[in-house]
């Protein structure tokens, strides 16, 4: 562990402040994860990763940098990992899910910015996130106004590349995104010094597809009436997927899926029969944001699916693996990524179709649509989501929250009443 202290020093981190974060993490992990009974044994892996979250993976990334590889820090599921991997680069998620980082973000951003953005900027400027310190380049995208402005600040001392995401999904927008991917590939080649060939890109496409299939397998297990894993554990798996090596991520998720499938066969559930099943939709839940899931699952219900960027939007839809030229592959990537239904698009009826489909697939009793404060896009979509679900006869609860603990009691009251209503 002492090695990590030296590593953090070498990364120029604020050790004193970082230590404050290290103090609160064990309590939250204990309360949210270790208080659960009958967890899948395969969760050992994620328990280790979260216990050493600022240690093991950062150390691995630094070792790879010593070999000449470049690390790209990303913020959004729209950035195509395949392109970076094809140039022998590494993709990592960045910190942004804790109230701990918000004050440092508020020092430079308006308070009326969503906590995810404030925390991301705060983690960078406060020098308390090793991933922000390690990344050789940040890759942003234009999925919200707050992030666009934040990238201007983050790009002041680290190379920042911003991809221009279309705001509609017409054929010309899919073509535009293909061209954006091609331009990004040229920048990645230049930055890494490695050429992206059709063969390398195909390998990368297959690798990331394998990761998507593994994540899907775990989610498929959650569709069972015999629920083999809690929503909290599935969320942790999803959150870590953004940081891990993709091959290892696929391997560990497949190992977990094997166990979950055995549990279903053996009738092993983590909740009593009849526990109400909740689909959570809305803004992403970046690690270590576990408040919503923990409150739901300690209020008598179980989360069975997340229709969010830290959920189904990350892994649903595969990239066509049969294309043999870069031009065709960029188009295949564009077609896959443009199927992701983000609230930045207009119209975004695909998201409602997804939610209605998942309500059936995951045998959902009720939906909780939760957005982070000041996320205008997802907050506005609550109207159409709520209307569609009501028309379909699916109970829905719309919420807004942030990273603080101060609204936990209020959330408990509202979620508790919602679950009680589902039970009635």
């Amino acid at each position: 562990m002492a090695d990590y202290v030296q590593m953090w020093k070498d990364l120029g981190m604020d050790l004193e402040n970082h230590d404050l974060l290290c103090q609160v993490l064990p309590t939250a992990v204990g309360d949210v994860f270790l208080s659960q009974e009958n967890r899948p044994k395969a969760m050992d892996f994620w328990d280790l990763v979260i216990s050493e979250v600022h240690g093991i993976r950062p150390a691995e990334l630094i070792e790879e940098q010593k070999k000449g590889r470049k690390v790209f820090g990303t913020f959004c599921v729209y950035v195509p990992d395949e392109v970076v991997i094809a140039a022998n680069g590494i993709v990592t998620g960045l910190c942004g899910g804790s109230q701990f980082w918000v004050p440092d973000g508020e020092a430079v951003l308006p308070k009326s910015t969503c906590p995810l953005i404030k925390a991301s900027v705060g983690a960078r400027l406060g020098r308390t996130c090793p991933f922000f310190r390690i990344a050789d380049m940040y890759v942003g995208e234009t999925t919200c106004d707050g992030k666009k402005k934040a990238y201007e600040i983050l790009g002041e001392d680290v190379p920042m590349y911003v991809m221009d995401v279309p705001q509609m999904k017409r054929p010309e927008d899919i073509l535009k995104w293909k061209n954006e991917i091609a331009a990004f590939a040229r920048r990645v080649e230049e930055f890494t010094g490695n050429e992206i060939t059709p063969e390398k890109l195909n390998e990368a496409i297959q690798l990331v597809n394998a990761k998507r299939r593994a994540l899907q397998r775990v989610y498929d297990a959650r569709k069972s009436e015999c629920l083999p894993i809690s929503g909290r554990d599935a969320l942790l798996m999803m959150q870590i997927a953004f940081f891990d090596d993709p091959a290892r991520c696929a391997q560990m998720c497949n190992r977990l899926a094997d166990e979950l499938e055995d549990r279903i066969r053996d009738g092993v559930s983590v909740v009593p029969h009849g526990t109400k099943r909740i689909l959570v939709t809305g803004t992403p839940l970046a690690v270590p944001n576990w408040k919503l899931h923990n409150i739901i699952e300690t209020s008598g219900a179980a989360v069975v699916c997340e229709e969010m960027c830290t959920g189904t939007r990350y892994f649903e839809n595969l990239v066509d693996e049969t294309k043999t030229t870069l031009d065709e592959q960029f188009m295949a990537l564009s077609e896959r990524y443009m199927k992701t239904n983000c609230a930045c698009f207009t119209p975004n009826t695909g998201r409602i179709d997804d939610i209605l489909r998942m309500v059936k697939e995951y045998k959902v009793d009720g939906v909780i649509d939760c957005s982070l404060k000041f996320c205008c896009l997802y907050d506005t979509e609550k109207y159409s989501v709520s209307r569609a679900l009501k028309e379909a006869g699916v109970p829905i609860l719309s919420l807004e929250t942030d990273y603080t603990d101060t609204d936990a009691e209020q959330l408990r009251t509202r979620i508790g009443a919602f679950v009680e209503m589902l039970d009635a």
Partner: protein, 90 residues
């Protein structure tokens, strides 16, 4: 009701040492779980893993460690650590 259960945390020099003992205890059928080392222990000098053992299992775990010369840094008791409804997040 707040949790007042006494549990034991096994602390390590590094995670490789922790994983080795985790594997040994698993092999012997002794319940143990990977957990972040609580920061109230001075021995836990940085973010890092520990093994969490219930009070009922600690004697058998100690015996197993002794017999197999399992490596660790310290075994320390702590009460009231797991409170699902505490609502203190990060």
């Amino acid at each position: 009701m707040p949790d007042s259960t006494l549990r034991y945390y096994i602390l390590f020099e590094n995670y490789e040492q922790g994983l080795a003992l985790h594997g040994l205890l698993d092999e012997q059928g002794l319940p143990n779980r990977i957990a972040p080392a609580p920061r109230c222990f001075k021995e836990a000098a940085a973010c890092g893993m520990s093994l969490l053992v219930e009070e009922a299992d600690i004697d058998a775990v100690r015996q197993c460690i002794k017999e197999n010369r399992g490596e660790y840094r310290a075994i320390l008791p702590l009460a009231g650590q797991l409170q699902a409804r505490r609502d203190k997040y990060c």
